[in-house]
Amino acid sequence: MRTESCEFCGNPVPASATWCPHCGRPGLFPNVRAAETVAERNALAERYSLSVEAAAVRGCAEVLRSFEDSACSSKAVIARPLAQTEQLTCSDDQLYSTYYKLIEAEVRLPSGDKWDVLRRVADAILFPGYEKEIRFAALSMDGIGASTYGECSLVLRDSMIAHRASVFEGNSAWLLKQWRYDLTSGFRATWEQRSMLCVAKLAAQLQAEATPEDFAEILLCPGPIAEEGRFVEVHILRGLTRRSLEKVMIASPPRGGRPGSTRLKALRDRLAEAGVAFEVS
């Protein structure tokens, strides 16, 4: 078992621990620590360098720099259906829970499909011992999330997640299956290093004529089914409430007609109460 030293008491702490077992101090974020290891950093730096060099050879150095700048200010976005968004935003007491916790609380049943199995295996590998605490989001440049999962895009506040978020190459359940569950280094990064991961992953897809307007779709392109979606996955440890949100965006109202619009107005009111912006485009 890999261990590190507690920054407060100096004693060895398992890498997956969310608090020091010796002095009990909380505030450890194992997903961030896993992305911060020397092996991960070096491997990512190498992928990044190779991608930059390859882009330069293709004459895309300039556009890649511009893409990297945009990726630096990308946001973590969770896409959920309107009904769930309404529930989360109706008061400060509502928590955005995880799939595992919902099942544990008998609030929902396991979906029972292949994703159920893939997700459990992948999570056990990526987040050993703390998989129930991880919330998933996707990186987005325009605030619109993976609409396959719902029409509402919940844009998270950087200040609320930067210390506890890490990013991963793509859909972890699908990728780990593709990799036959052999997790290699260089495919995850801390929140601050997310632009490096974006460059390492997507530089090859940038064309010299690509404009900043194209970047958002290059970074996040939801497919009709999960396997076909392209996105950088964000892993956030522990709870989220409406106060963790910066903005809620709805790309297209869920249904035509007036009832939909009144529900959106009510959603706007509830978000305003928590100081969260609301946008319908």
Binding site: E106, R108, Y149, R258, T262
Partner: protein, 710 residues
């Protein structure tokens, strides 16, 4: 083909052999081909799944529309009931709900959901009805019935909770069974059955024959357990039921034929909403609900006496939360609704007395007597006379009440208080003793007695009397305050501080102990001034941002600081109070409060100065007001007439100017640190000065009392 429908997700999935297509509302109504993997994503976490077998595309579309209408209606109802949302949004929800409810079966479907659980405590039924009034009759009717049936809904829900887990299974199973029962309208049917007081057998048969219910495991046992409490109840002895009806009759003064229970529940809900609005200090909302309540209780040619009773209850509630203007408004409306209702006049007189409109309070009290409230009317009249300082008449009035109603403890205590105000301390003490013998639990009489003993300088007895009250009622702030004052008079200052600490620790939320407290939740001691200053600035900031609690706190301080002037300025009181409030807002808005003293002291000064300005402008100011802000101002000469009439003024006239200034600052609520800063003397020196002044005052008082006895 088969279909899977969810109103929540707004989608119908059509399964035709291996092909899967999705049907959506709005936009393109043509089905879209889907892969099986997409099914989960299309439905999301929707929980209102409905399976239909052998349906056509049109039928599926119709079912989808109905499911969507159901969900939309429920959401609109929740929006309507949510007081945190803006008026516009709620108004719009009322209009749209009305449109949806016109659709066939929508109302029943919405009720299926809404009758499955009582409304949450934060719901605002009265507000919802207000937004529906006039323009949304279907919604009004649905909501009215929903509110009326809340107790039945709670009953049915409780019975559901009592179904043993052994019958249902896990929590997830319970949720699934409940969702099925809701969708099939069983909760609604059960509520209606309870309302009609019908036997459960018919319901049971119909539920057992329901095909969706039959798909559930152990459905027979579950249904039997659910209806069991109602089966038992319907079998109760007839005399018990009859007794319950008699009790209900006493509480519901409406004709049986006028849907009494329904109206009673509505009135209770409306009153609860009004009290909620009062507590939130939302005057506009409270007024609008009151207006709706009056409409409700006077419609259909009902005697307005019921509305008067409600208004009187609400006036008392308004008084208890310190909304004196509303108390006055409510009680006045009651007198206008039914001019010969004696109790309304009693409440109105009381409200006028509280608001300081003494000249109007007297005829109101007399009206109460004329219309038959002899006991309460005469008592309130005596109180008014005492407040008008017509002490002789007040005493006679109290004597008259006591003559007619010897058990009237309020009148007897009032008489004792009047005697104390007339400085007839021995008689006052005897009067208090007599009240205590007959009503030993009456704490105001016991506190009054202690106060008289203190005034008579019988300090040990006064202390014992206060301690007796504190033993019986540890939270009695008057007694604790009185005890501290007696200890001060006894010069036992260490014990005073200990008493302060004990009170602050024991009652951190008590708003008024020794004037130390700042805001509920921000308890501070006079010795933690730095922290207090920070908190004060917070209160000012909250006040300027319209925070209801801060506004209420500052307003209560203003009222208390202004209270000593109320009697002298009664004819222009409302204007004075309004000007004072404006002045406070102006000064705080301009950042004039710099935290050099506590906020409460600062406000005290602002209010005092404003009131004194008003008194000066009328030429009615006297030194006895104890509020001249000018440190060096000499005491005005006391006229012989005043001396004869007011021995306290005579005593004050003999106190050295230095001591007068100290007393004035203490009366204004300054701490020692603030006083030492203002007077330019060291804190220790000031404490010694206060002690000496107290000794002088006690000696003078002794002389005064001795002179009077002679």
């Amino acid at each position: 083909m088969d279909a899977l429908i969810s109103g929540e997700a707004g989608v119908a999935l059509l399964f035709d052999g291996a092909a899967v297509r999705s049907l959506h509302l709005g936009g393109d109504t043509q089905p879209v081909s889907r892969r099986p993997e997409e099914v989960g994503l299309l439905l999301g976490d929707a929980r209102d799944l409905q399976v239909l077998e052998n349906v056509t595309q049109e039928e599926a579309h119709r079912h989808l529309e109905a499911a969507t209408r159901r969900i939309d209606t429920m959401h609109l109802m929740l929006i309507l009931l949510d007081p945190k949302l803006t008026d516009d949004t709620r108004q719009e929800a009322a209009v749209e709900a009305e449109e949806l409810l016109a659709g066939p079966g929508t109302r029943e479907a919405a009720e299926d959901i809404l009758y499955a659980h009582p409304l949450p405590s934060g719901a605002d039924p009265a507000g919802a009805l207000t937004f529906c009034s006039g323009e949304a009759p279907r919604t009004t009717e649905l909501l009215s019935q929903l509110f009326t049936r809340q107790s039945l809904i709670a009953e049915v829900q409780q019975a559901w909770e009592q179904v043993p887990d052994a019958e249902i299974g896990s929590a997830a199973d319970r949720e699934y069974v409940q969702a099925t029962f809701v969708r099939e309208g069983l909760f609604r049917s059960m509520v209606l059955l309870r309302e009609a007081q019908q036997a459960v057998d018919g319901f049971l048969v119909s539920a057992l024959l329901n095909r969706e219910v039959q798909k559930l495991t152990s459905y027979r046992a579950i249904l039997q357990s659910w209806v069991e409490p109602f089966r038992r109840e319907s079998a109760r002895p007839l005399e018990v039921a009859a007794a319950a009806d008699v009790i209900a009759e006493e509480h519901v003064p409406y004709r049986r034929s006028f849907d009494r229970q329904d109206r009673f529940t509505k009135v209770q809900l409306q009153k609860a909403s009004i009290v909620g609005a009062m507590k939130a200090r939302d005057l506009r909302r409270a007024r609008s609900y009151v207006s709706a309540l009056i409409d409700l209780q006077t419609s259909g040619g009902l005697d307005p006496i019921h509305a008067c009773m409600s208004l009187c209850d609400l006036a008392l509630d308004a008084k208890s939360v310190g909304m004196l203007d509303l108390q006055l408004e409510l009680s006045q409306t009651a007198t206008k609704l039914k001019e010969d209702d004696a109790w309304s006049w009693v409440q109105y007189a009381d409200a006028l007395l509280d608001a300081g409109h003494l000249n109007e309070a007297l005829p109101a009290a007399e009206s109460a007597i004329v219309f038959g409230a002899l006991d309460a009317g005469k008592t309130i009249r005596a109180k008014v006379l005492r407040a008008m300082n017509r002490l002789g008449e007040a005493l006679a009035a109290y004597d008259e009440v006591i003559g007619d109603f010897p058990e009237n403890v309020v009148a007897r205590t009032g008489r004792a208080e009047t005697l104390r105000s007339m400085d007839r301390l021995v008689e006052s003490l005897a009067a208090y003793d007599a009240v205590i013998v007959d009503f030993p639990w009456d704490l105001s009489a016991r506190n009054g007695k202690a106060e008289v003993l203190h005034s008579m300088n019988r300090l040990v007895e006064a202390l014992a009397a206060y301690e007796g009250v504190i033993v019986d009622s540890p939270q009695n702030v008057v007694a604790r305050n009185g005890k501290a004052q007696v200890l001060r008079s006894m010069n036992r200052l260490e014990e005073v501080w200990a008493a302060d600490d004990e009170a602050i620790t024991a009652f951190p939320d008590d708003a008024d102990y020794l004037g130390i407290k700042v805001v509920p939740g921000f308890t501070v001691g006079a010795r933690t001034e730095g922290w207090m200053a920070t908190r004060d600035q917070e209160v000012v900031s909250l006040f300027l941002h319209g925070d209801a609690e801060a506004v209420g706190t500052i307003d209560s301080w203003i009222s208390r600081a202004a209270w000593p002037y109320q009697r002298r300025l009664s004819h222009v009181w409302e204007n004075v109070l309004q000007n004072v409030r404006l002045e406070v807002i102006r000064l705080l808005g301009q950042g004039k409060f710099r935290g050099e003293s506590s906020l409460r002291t600062y406000l005290w000064q602002v209010v005092s100065n404003s009131c004194l300005d008003q008194l000066r402008s009328q030429g009615r100011w006297q030194w006895a007001d104890l509020m001249d802000d000018s440190v060096s101002a000499p005491a005005p000469p006391v006229t012989g007439g005043h001396e004869d009439r007011d021995p306290v003024q005579r005593m004050l006239g003999r106190i050295p100017a230095e001591c007068r200034e100290v007393w004035r600052l203490i009366a204004m609520g300054h701490s020692y640190r603030e006083m030492s800063r203002r007077l330019g003397v060291a804190e220790g020196t000031l404490r010694v000065r206060v002690l000496r002044c107290r000794e002088k005052a006690i000696a003078l008082r002794g002389e005064l009392l001795a002179g009077r006895r002679k």
